[in-house]
Symmetry: C2
Subunit: 637 residues, 2 copies
Amino acid sequence: MNAHTKPQKNSVKAAPQTVTTGPIIGSRKIYVAAPEHPDMRVPFREVALTTDAEPPVRIYDPSGPYTETDAKIDLNAGLVQPRRAWLDARGFEVVAGRAVTAADNGNISAEQLVPACPAQRPILMAKPGQMTTQYEFARAGIVTPEMTYVAHRENLGRAAMLEGARERHADGESFGASVPEFVTPEFVRDEIARGRAIIPANINHPELEPMAIGRNFLVKINANIGNSAVTSGAAEEVEKLVWAIRWGADTVMDLSTGRNIHNIRSWILRNSPVPIGTVPIYQALEKVGGDPIKLDWEVFKDTLIEQAEQGVDYFTIHAGVRLPYVPLTASRVTGIVSRGGSIMARWCLAHHKESFLYERFDEICEIMRRYDVSFSLGDGLRPGSIADANDRAQFAELETLGELTKVAWDKGCQVMIEGPGHVPMHKIKENMDKQLRECGEAPFYTLGPLTTDIAPGYDHITSGIGAAMIGWFGCAMLCYVTPKEHLGLPDRDDVKTGVITYRIAAHAADLAKGHPAAKLRDDALSRARFDFRWEDQFNLALDPDTARAFHDETLPKDAHKVAHFCSMCGPKFCSMKITQDLRAEVQAMGDNERAALEAMALDQAAAKLEQQRIEGMAEKSQEFLKKGGNLYLPAAE
Amino acid sequence: MNAHTKPQKNSVKAAPQTVTTGPIIGSRKIYVAAPEHPDMRVPFREVALTTDAEPPVRIYDPSGPYTETDAKIDLNAGLVQPRRAWLDARGFEVVAGRAVTAADNGNISAEQLVPACPAQRPILMAKPGQMTTQYEFARAGIVTPEMTYVAHRENLGRAAMLEGARERHADGESFGASVPEFVTPEFVRDEIARGRAIIPANINHPELEPMAIGRNFLVKINANIGNSAVTSGAAEEVEKLVWAIRWGADTVMDLSTGRNIHNIRSWILRNSPVPIGTVPIYQALEKVGGDPIKLDWEVFKDTLIEQAEQGVDYFTIHAGVRLPYVPLTASRVTGIVSRGGSIMARWCLAHHKESFLYERFDEICEIMRRYDVSFSLGDGLRPGSIADANDRAQFAELETLGELTKVAWDKGCQVMIEGPGHVPMHKIKENMDKQLRECGEAPFYTLGPLTTDIAPGYDHITSGIGAAMIGWFGCAMLCYVTPKEHLGLPDRDDVKTGVITYRIAAHAADLAKGHPAAKLRDDALSRARFDFRWEDQFNLALDPDTARAFHDETLPKDAHKVAHFCSMCGPKFCSMKITQDLRAEVQAMGDNERAALEAMALDQAAAKLEQQRIEGMAEKSQEFLKKGGNLYLPAAE
């Protein structure tokens, strides 16, 4: 545990006082001004190396001000507000806002009530007809400060780093994505205008450090937090947020379902530099005493407004769970595993009516547009087991989500689409391809997928495999799964494990897509490894603390940090040590000698190629003979 | 930790006394006779369920007699010998064997010497010209008892289970593998004769429970154990073996490099029911005082015979590291990362001679054939970083391994091929495809691959992603990577984490390939999950102890084991609970009502298909127009 860590007492009643602060060991927070906005401070984490031969490595950093060296955090006042001036300049209406009711906090008794966060912000709302969402600005050709911020953030100072790198690396297979060489504000605008990316950014969330979710940007990850009726309170949830973003969560969903959720949410939002997502139906259900059948449009609408005014950046809306799809799930092995999906299915069936989310979708759009809350169209019928993957229920809903995407765009809203779930490897790509096709390339946001059902306790891994693959295929954001999935609520360690696992998946995907800057960090770490710069190796790792601790278990002394071996092989058997000697020897060779050896290898390669050419020709003639009379395709008239 | 666990004191000198025994909680060891050999006892692990509606689930089990209910283990006597009678019937020559020298144990002092395992076995060797290897028997059309054993083992009682399952499941994408509906002894023989599978089974390893490695069998995993100069001794290594196979390692490599390795190996072999692999060059290097330059054919040959007589089942031989390839590695980011590879490269360069492993390959084959030691042709030039993946050095060596595979087959030996390493996702398939092509479909055995370099401390996960993918593409065995990779020697927990991670990868691969029996376990677990049969869910998990412990952290009471919710969502919000109510409701619907709803969904599906058909036609006409005059392919004469 970090020296700065101050764990919270687990008490439902306590309001949060302090959270984990200070830099990740071995790196420092930096802010870089954007040329277009000299006052814009785009955050990064920078790892300085112990060698003069290489520049520091700049890392994308969603952790907010908490990781500054002398972070001054006052949870009661909330974070600094990077968007304040931009929002004020847009001239939104300041409204009194909906009155908070006892039901918003689950009618909890006074002595158990968590106080709301005292930080006050004006509540903003679009005036009738006023351009509000990033999508609307983008469609109108306007580059917002949010877009500029995102462009610089995504670039990671790429120009300088690539210059410093030994070679350019951008090979990859992107399956039709078009990650640009450099990200410009105009590129961001264009991607948003096409609906291929979103910047979830409620106008009531001035504390946000804007970020983009889209196939042509770095792959993002989401961490879920939230109390349930069984465990955890406010203090724990805010610390979970800070902890999750410290290790790299790009957005956080607050899935609280217990009491106090309105007030806990106020603490989370006022202290969150990342977009916060919620599933409003959870709170709506609390308001009607937990019985899905009692839900109706009014209570749902009220909840949307309540949460939009607080500043939630994206809402999961399960509007694709339609009445006719419900029977399609009856023969499934695991039925409906989405909470929102099962609630809506129950409602539809009990009332024998089409879902009010589907029927009122236009009105939902109008509410969300007024605050620029992005849609995360929920996959209420996602498969909950390998057996149910890619079935008719799942794909019927996905087709409806595609239809709704177009409606939301028409209404000026930003949209992403949620995806499964449990999917074996050979069925993952079909999910991605179908989503792109049905939903007009709107960003896909998947949970995992888990590639097998047989490893409860390790579902961060079963799903990390699927997440890396679907990220490679084009998924824009990966919702993490922790080791506790299916078993219980994640604690602090589980959250970290889930986040690091998903950072691995996202980065592996960026590498495979051929992202122009992703490989720089791998190369820097590998050079450090080869040079036995242990400290650099630790500091460049996704989790420097764990890397260092594992190393020190067997070789704890400071001297070992510069040792040319580790405990895996010991000093005599270190292949890297032997290779270094070897490299010196190759370099010391006469030019003729080296050239002669290389020529031998090349001769063999040439012979091999020639052989393959001959085999290839033989194969082609075989094919040719097999095809026989079918060589002519049907001709055009 | 299991109640039966008796951890060993970490002492270099202590001979092993006891190891972890007893069943994995919630399952029991069973032995099933083969119809062809009524005395053959094929081992499985069986999980009985708490519902009468479903049969027990049979699981592939490499853990040996250690997991029997009242396991009687005497490490001094060694394990029971399932192969004894089969081997005796073959009439091999019993030889005196090579005299053990002080150098075999690294010239260690008497007081530090670990005694050899007292279990005595005759040392067998083929008579001149005697048919010995499984490959030779297979080519001659002879089905050995080992092949029959493997066939039944691979089937998992599949016929009965599929009968009991609700539906047949075998969809998948196998990329050209041909996993059969049922495995017969004749199928095993045929795969071995074609070189597509091996049964690593030294005639001096009678304790072995035979298993197969090949693309058309279940994907296997290997765990590495072994002391190094820095840490660990005999007691720890034998317990690591037992611990690794308990959780599912199919083979174990003893990579010891310190002293006492001859004697430690005797304890491991006499007590191992799984194939043991080694890298003989490590011990040869010890014998020449650790200086690669002093290696020669005589010391290597002596080591091969020493280890073959002890019963090692497969040898990693880095015969593909040829002199001309060495300069190809000089410009790599991480040079040569294989210990064996770097040793041989150093030798080649220092002597400016072709590798004696390559030059003496015929003689190596002759020695290995005499004991049926399988080849694991080492990838001494595998990439050690993302930057070096799929480079000329790596592929040049792979081409040479292909050449050597054919030599080894000609000499009657069984062969598998080792593969990388560090490979980004988009370059993994090329590795698999090239290996199959170059090496005539000999089984591929890869380390990971790691899909990014930036997560030391989590390389079981970076590599688990790559392992699952390459297993899907056709890799036959996956060498595990533990969380300590690159940082230190794995301890007991690391070994377990590595094994479980790789069982996940192997199983995900089997599922994606469409293995006819793999999905049965997923479905059984998912049904248990949906029915809230918590105990069944735990017991069917790869790691029941961890699943149970995670659940109990928040809901420890016995009553919660039958509760219709977990702490993730609490009782009101459980989607599975809601779906169960829902399913009852759908079932209670009138037939007409249900039919009407389903018809609505089908209508929508039909409309969708129609739309796609129209779009498809439009697309085709576009294509057609684009192609213009190129519609005619060149015609045959």
